[in-house]
Symmetry: C2
Subunit: 207 residues, 2 copies
DNA sequence: TGTACATTGTTATTTATTTCACACTACCTG
DNA sequence: CAGGTAGTGTGAAATAAATAACAATGTACA
């Protein structure tokens, strides 16, 4: 199971989301081409990904939805679950906190942090906001492993340092400041403007 | 300039953002390794990307920041600019509208749409909200080319159809429903849960 | 029951992207 | 103004990812 391609990891997450929907609708089996059509993928790609994670079916009635969810979950989740925190409770931080809660049983937002004293101790969607100064203590107490950064771009670098020092090993950066991290920390960056600009570029090509 | 790798397009957008910052700080020249270090890229990759877009410098004092911005802008922007709209003025839609406005001169959010009558005619960050029923008319009137979807997942498919019918050729989907579009429409998808799950996966590997 | 067919699993091939390696040259330094 | 250095530009090699091709096999149905 070692060395899954990074792209595959992303797709696994998406497959699972779709499979959970199927399950909710009472669908018990799904063909590779069905799963492919529900996304923008090809059936071969789906089969290949599924091969890579070591699941296979003897049936020719498609994959067992429940079983496939379980295999994917074994790869993505941990038994105990993983705790995350939002840093910067502004528009975006609030939106994510509200949206996220309860979506995934093994992935929880357990705290938010802000440096604005006004915001400390507020509760959003059941999640409490703490002063950023308490982060070291809370990372230990609540076993926070992932930091989701939604602070203003000019504070991104210093907040990153705070997070790394606090021992956080996974960072998702929504700030428009690109960051770099030590080897032992995993960083995922996402910049919305880049996404829009990519769309703009391709729209331009189509004219 | 045909056939730039897709990955390169994304990086160009990020280079430009950084270059604009440099320019604002009065920096006139930048080395490939400087630009690389400001992101998580290598100097070779930066040079390769810059080679692909046809810019080069005779100097050994690095690239001319201003000139490089111009070349990148020629690729990403159009002279007249491109107009975009937000569909679904909820938490996320509001956050993006507020955040985005004025960030890029050639990329404007000119309208938002919602099906909630309460929200119609409200103004957020200077952008007016229209009933979704008026979208066909407004796509023409305002020359909207890009639709940013932030509606609830269960309405994603029908909203997509509305957008495509209205003649929109570029779609950015923040909905957690995966979509597929006709050949002549460009679709970019981004699911936050997938990003967090990717981070979770890599954090797990590091334990 | 056996034949046609649909579907999976997997190896081989192709395509896309990154990295390496190095030629080339402007610039600095003495 | 020669020689060393630090930078760029780029063909070639390596790596990563997607696609094609097809053997194997369970299933439906005549
Ligand atoms: N809003 C969006 O849709 C959007 C989209 C793309 C990117 N972003 C990026 O996300 C970030 C936040 O955007 P926003 O619109 O939510 O901004 P915002 O100003 O609404 O929120 C920022 C929050 O961070 C807090 N903060 C500031 N410094 C802090 C620190 N050192 N420690 C802890 N908290 C701190 C502020 O008090 C505020 O609550 C920005 O970097 C922006 O570039 C936002
Ligand atoms: N909030 C987040 O941070 C976040 C993160 C990731 C993904 N998302 C996704 O973004 C989408 C929106 O999230 P949100 O938190 O802003 O939800 P929300 O419920 O706050 O907002 C949805 C908005 O869409 C409007 N709407 C509903 N049907 C519509 C239609 N047919 N046409 C036009 N407008 C319509 C609603 O009136 C509402 O204003 C969801 O699909 C969610 O999965 C949100």
């Amino acid at each position: 199971m070692n060395k899954l391609p990074e792209k595959t990891i992303g797709r696994l997450s998406e497959y699972r989301r779709t499979l959970l929907n199927c399950l909710a609708k009472g669908k018990t089996h799904i063909y590779s081409h069905e799963l492919a059509n529900l996304h923008n993928f090809t059936a071969v790609q789906v089969r290949r990904d599924i091969m890579l994670i070591g699941y296979s079916t003897t049936l020719k009635k498609g994959y067992d939805v429940k079983a496939l969810i379980d295999v994917i979950s074994k790869i993505i989740d941990t038994d105990e679950g993983i705790n995350a925190a939002i840093i910067g409770v502004g528009n975006l931080g609030k939106a994510i906190t509200t949206y996220f809660n309860g979506k995934r049983p093994k992935l929880r937002i357990v705290a938010t942090f802000d440096n604005d004293p006004e915001k400390a101790n507020r509760v959003i969607a059941g999640v409490k906001c703490y002063p950023i100064s308490e982060i070291n203590k809370l990372v230990n107490e609540l076993d926070i492993r992932i930091g989701i950064m939604t602070v203003p771009p000019e504070n991104a670098v210093s907040v990153l340092e705070t997070l790394v020092n606090a021992g956080i090993k996974g960072i998702l950066n929504y700030t428009s400041t690109p960051l770099s991290v030590p080897q032992n920390v995993h960083l995922e960056e996402y910049d919305m403007i880049t996404s829009i600009e990519k769309v703009a570029y391709f729209v331009k090509q189509k004219k």
